[in-house]
Amino acid sequence: MSIIVNHVSYSYNPGTSMETKALKDINLVINDGEFIGLIGHTGSGKSTLVQHLNGLVKPTEGEIYYNGQDIFNSDLTRKELRSKVGLVFQYPEHQLFEADVFSDVCFGPKNLGLSSKETELRAYAALKAVGIEDEYFYQSPFDLSGGQKRRVAIAGVLAMEPEVLVLDEPTAGLDPKGRDEILEMLSDIQKEKNCTIVLVSHSMEDVADYADRIIVMNKGEVAYNDTPSEVFKHYKELEKIGLSAPEVTRALYQLRKEGFDVNTDIINVQEAVETIGKCFGI
């Protein structure tokens, strides 16, 4: 039960003078129940890659397998795949269109051909999961605040009850509080439903606390694919490709350089505070 990306390459406008290679020979395995952070600089191909995962984009070369089935060459219909792999786009609030919140969330499950009762049950559960209260259910989605709109949009995908949830920069343009709420919510959803989450971001801080594994993309290739603390060991190389390790990691490495005996694998701010405190005898 997993997604395997096998030697996938993708070019925009192939065969013309404007051909650009967005992905070059990507090999990845995404296991069940994992929380993966997919990180890369703008234009590194991360958004293109996630659109492959549910078959919105067909790879120029290579195959993608979902639970052992090639997603473009098997009995697996596109609709089935999209109900299993839910993709939340960047700025998902721009896709809201219904007159009220509840029917917008119903759109996804209704497209799956579920009964209206099942649809409504799922929509209700999804809205509860993202923390939208009953009083907002019959308001226009356009009257909500930015953070609420985004949560409604995420609920729209959640209501399809995907086994793999892929989110493309769900925290873009949110304030720190909204950002933390979204990340916390995702982590809760994962624990509760035991689904796989792929979180795309360009900020290490976003994913450091939650991800089991971090995949770093650079210019259409996978640069690193490891646990957060292992990836952050390459903080100097990360800076070269336009990314920065979390501030905590950088601070700890700097301390070690200055001769303090600190554990540089720490990524949690709270633990780091304690460690640094110890160094200075506080």
Binding site: L56, H94, G108
Partner: protein
């Protein structure tokens, strides 16, 4: 403006001889513009359908002495004549206007429009504002295309189906695409208006340009050639019946 005159000239000509100067003129313009010939041919592909449709219509529907006839259809001598005539005219039209869009940036185009229609300011037509609106509209086309693509993908990820079903179902399936698209278009328009206001935009009066249009010797020559060409076309029309 040159293009416009060229297009008008095509409609002035009523016979084949009139196309000879048009052909020479067009060939010269293509040569000068340095647009690769392949590019122009590619542009023609898009209108092949329209072209063949008009040819067929002319071929069969022009009354005259029938040359070949089968069933209720007949091809007359006049039909062939008009069909070929129309095909040449259409081809020239398309090549002429595509040369203009290939060589002129939207900014130059609206600048030219503003200048060309400048005389209408006298009768209180807001020429600058119209030109501004045009350039904004042109600027927004690629943005909206991109936006459409994005929203389409997002709705497909939510299981929307834009391809199958009968026509009513298809139109209904466009609602989830069009509503967000309109909203984002309005939002963008609003933002743009706000940004322009914030920078003190207040219409055309007394406004200077970053790159003002200046006439060079070349432009004068171009005008003369254009006028000569027009004269030849009109002369041909009058002289040859």
């Amino acid at each position: 403006m040159g293009t416009l005159i060229f297009l008008v000239s095509l409609f002035i000509t009523k016979n084949y001889i009139g196309y000879i100067p048009a052909l020479i003129f067009l060939a010269a313009v293509v040569k000068i513009s340095k647009v690769p010939f392949k590019f122009i041919v590619k542009g023609m592909k898009a209108i092949v359908f329209l072209l063949s449709l008009s040819v067929l219509c002319n071929l069969f529907l022009t009354p005259g002495e029938p040359l070949v006839s089968f069933w209720k259809l007949s091809i007359s001598r006049e039909g062939i004549k008009t069909a070929v005539f129309m095909a040449i005219r259409l081809t020239f039209l398309i090549i002429g206007s595509s040369i203009m869009t290939l060589t002129t940036t939207p900014n130059q185009l609206t600048d030219g429009l503003e200048k060309g229609l400048g005389f209408m300011k006298v009768i209180k037509v807001p020429v600058h504002e119209i030109a501004m609106m045009m350039s904004i509209a042109l600027r927004f086309i690629p943005i909206l295309t991109e936006e459409t693509d994005k929203i389409m993908k997002a709705q497909m990820a939510r299981g929307a189906d834009f391809e199958s079903g009968n026509i009513i179902k298809k139109i209904k399936s466009l609602i989830p695409l069009l509503v967000p698209l309109f909203i984002s278009a309005f939002r963008r328009a609003n933002d743009l208006a706000m940004a322009m206001e914030a920078r003190g935009y207040r219409g055309g009066d007394g406004r200077t340009k970053m790159k003002p249009l200046k006439y060079h010797g070349n432009d004068a020559v171009a005008y003369i050639i254009l006028l000569l060409y027009l004269a030849v076309i009109i002369a041909l029309r009058v002289l040859i019946k």
